[in-house]
């Protein structure tokens, strides 16, 4: 089995009009590790993450070229089973976006789309996923009320639970803690560390310390290019490129 890489990106380019947002990205994302995409804001981290599950489709002005292999399939090829491919990846965005449904239905949303109707199975999933993200005890008495009453940190964990419910193999997280208080941030970070045995995790961040805490594999981006990548210890103690050196000085 050469399944060491969950994702392989070849020559990925994303352009708007004549501006290149991502320039010739070549990247391998190792399985069952936390890969951290680090870089100053505006360098294209969100765009790269969106390309991975083709949410770039939503933005007509973006032109995406290149190849992204997930399970040996190039997901950028025109296809009509993109929904199944997206279910292989759970998405956690910068701010939690709970669906305008009850807490219970938020968790079951993705499974129901898959066609599961059995009440017992749905109940089981809700409990299991909320347990996984440590939210069960906090919400088990109000599963059928709106998630609006939860704190932002709880909402973010609910969104994670909802993503896990579709049994993804990857978790894509775009600055998942930037809207959270330190305590909730730590909860999310701890969750990632716990979850990496079962999932491949890609975390975008612009916080250097978070990158150091989480990363098994670090990728430094700058103006749409991957400048350096490698093990975080080596990379951060012995930066090769002037961009990363400068970022490390400014970031601390």
């Amino acid at each position: 089995m050469k399944q060491d890489n969950a994702i392989e990106i070849h020559n990925l380019n994303v352009c708007v009009d004549d501006q290149r947002i991502l320039k010739n990205i070549n990247l391998q994302i190792p399985s069952h590790k936390i890969t951290v995409l680090l870089g100053p804001s505006g360098c294209g981290k969100t765009t790269l993450l969106r390309s991975l599950n083709r949410l770039t489709d939503l933005y007509k002005e973006l032109k995406v070229t290149g190849q992204i292999f997930i399970d040996g399939e190039d997901i950028l090829k025109p296809r009509n089973d993109i929904y199944e491919i997206r279910q292989k990846m759970g998405l956690l965005s910068q701010k939690p976006y709970p669906l305008p449904l009850s807490i219970y239905k938020n968790v079951t949303y993705g499974i129901k789309l898959k066609g599961v109707k059995d009440k017992k199975l749905l109940d089981y999933n809700v409990e299991k996923r909320l347990q996984e993200v440590g939210l069960w005890d906090e919400v088990k008495d109000r599963l059928h009320s709106s998630p609006d009453t939860l704190s932002i940190g709880q909402q973010q964990r609910l969104c994670l639970a909802r993503g896990l419910a579709v049994k993804p193999r990857l978790i894509l997280a775009d600055e998942p803690t930037s809207a959270l208080d330190p305590h909730s941030s730590k909860t999310i970070e701890d969750l990632f560390k716990k979850l990496k045995d079962q999932y491949t995790i890609v975390v975008v961040t612009h916080i250097l310390r978070q990158a150091k805490r989480l990363a098994d594999h670090a990728v430094f981006m700058h103006f749409g290019e991957v400048i350096e990548q490698g093990s975080p210890d080596e990379m951060f103690s012995n930066p090769q490129s002037p961009e990363l050196k400068k970022y490390l000085i400014d970031g601390n």
């Binding site: 939503l58 929904y83 949303y109 969104c159």
Partner: protein, 295 residues
């Protein structure tokens, strides 16, 4: 100095209160005035007979408003049936599928359409809709029709309401954050499922209030409808017959027919009925909004 500020503060707050008070009082004053002015007609017969009688013979002292009320409702409901699907689909297309260039082109166009005076829509109705209904549609159903029909009124009204309602729907849909759409898609929803579960659901109150305001506006719309609807007092379920909506009754006759006894009061009562129905429509939609918000 601080005393002067205090005085200014006091007066400006006072003025604001008065402005608010006037706004609140206005519908009440209008309602009271209309009720008083329509008082005399109740000496002729009771409210139930006025509302539910279909005999309109002012010279004989018989004032039954039912044909007018039904015509108004019929035209309004037809216009709703024609315009609602167009508005929803156009709003979804413009906010979810269209390119940025198309939407930035369409927004001012919709504003312009919403600003066109209703008499222009009426003229368009006479030039295009009436001949179409009279010469193409009616023969197709083997009906003789001048074209000045309830159906023509409904079509013209629908076209008038579309930009108005569409504008509100687009404003509402634009408030849905991209992140919510992305969330549903990432969970495996198709584009259509995503729109249904994120945009339409999130905007359910916005949609209801847009349609409510559109309906209330349609019900009270006078000129354009009057120009194409035929203005014949009758009750008919056939949309290819002429009708005579309430606002048209008032606009056509006020000032001209006042020599007939009680006509004055009758028209005041017609205005009052119009006001009450529009308020009822608003209240009903308020209630729907309240219900959906609670859910």
């Amino acid at each position: 100095m601080s005393r002067r500020k205090a005085i200014i503060q006091y007066f400006s707050q006072g003025w604001m209160m008065i402005a608010l008070f006037v706004i609140l009082l206005l519908p009440l004053i209008i309602g009271i005035a209309l009720t008083c002015k329509s008082g005399p007609i109740f000496r002729l017969c009771g409210l139930d007979e006025l509302l539910f009688s279909s005999i309109w013979k002012p010279t004989g002292g018989q004032f039954g408003f039912l044909p007018f009320i039904l015509s108004s409702l019929y035209v309004t409901i037809l216009s709703f049936i024609f315009s609602a699907p167009v508005c929803i689909l156009a709003a979804i297309y413009l906010t979810q599928f269209a390119s940025k260039r198309l939407i930035s082109f369409m927004l001012p166009v919709i504003d312009i359409l919403a600003g066109i005076p209703s008499v222009v829509y009426g003229m368009w109705g006479i030039l295009i809709v009436v001949p179409f209904v009279g010469e193409s549609l009616a023969p197709f159903f083997n009906v003789n029709s001048s074209g000045y029909t309830i159906l023509s009124g409904g079509i013209v009204l629908a076209v008038m309401c579309i930009p108005y309602v569409l504008n509100m729907l687009i404003e509402s849909f634009k408030t849905v954050p991209n992140g919510l759409v992305e969330a549903t898609l990432s969970l495996g929803a198709t584009k259509w499922e995503s729109i249904k579960h994120s945009v339409l659901r999130k905007c359910s109150t916005g949609i209801i209030s847009a349609f409510g305001l559109g309906l209330a506006k349609a019900f009270g719309e006078t000129l354009a409808v009057m120009m194409v609807v035929g203005n014949v007092v009758q009750i008919s379920g056939n949309p290819l017959e002429a009708g005579y909506p309430l606002p048209a009754l008032i606009a056509n006759n006020y000032g001209e027919m006042l020599s007939i006894p009680m006509y004055d009061s009758a028209l005041m009562l017609a205005s009052l009925i119009l006001l009450v129905i529009v308020m009822l429509i608003n209240l009903f939609f308020r209630y729907l909004i309240y219900k959906t918000q609670k859910r």
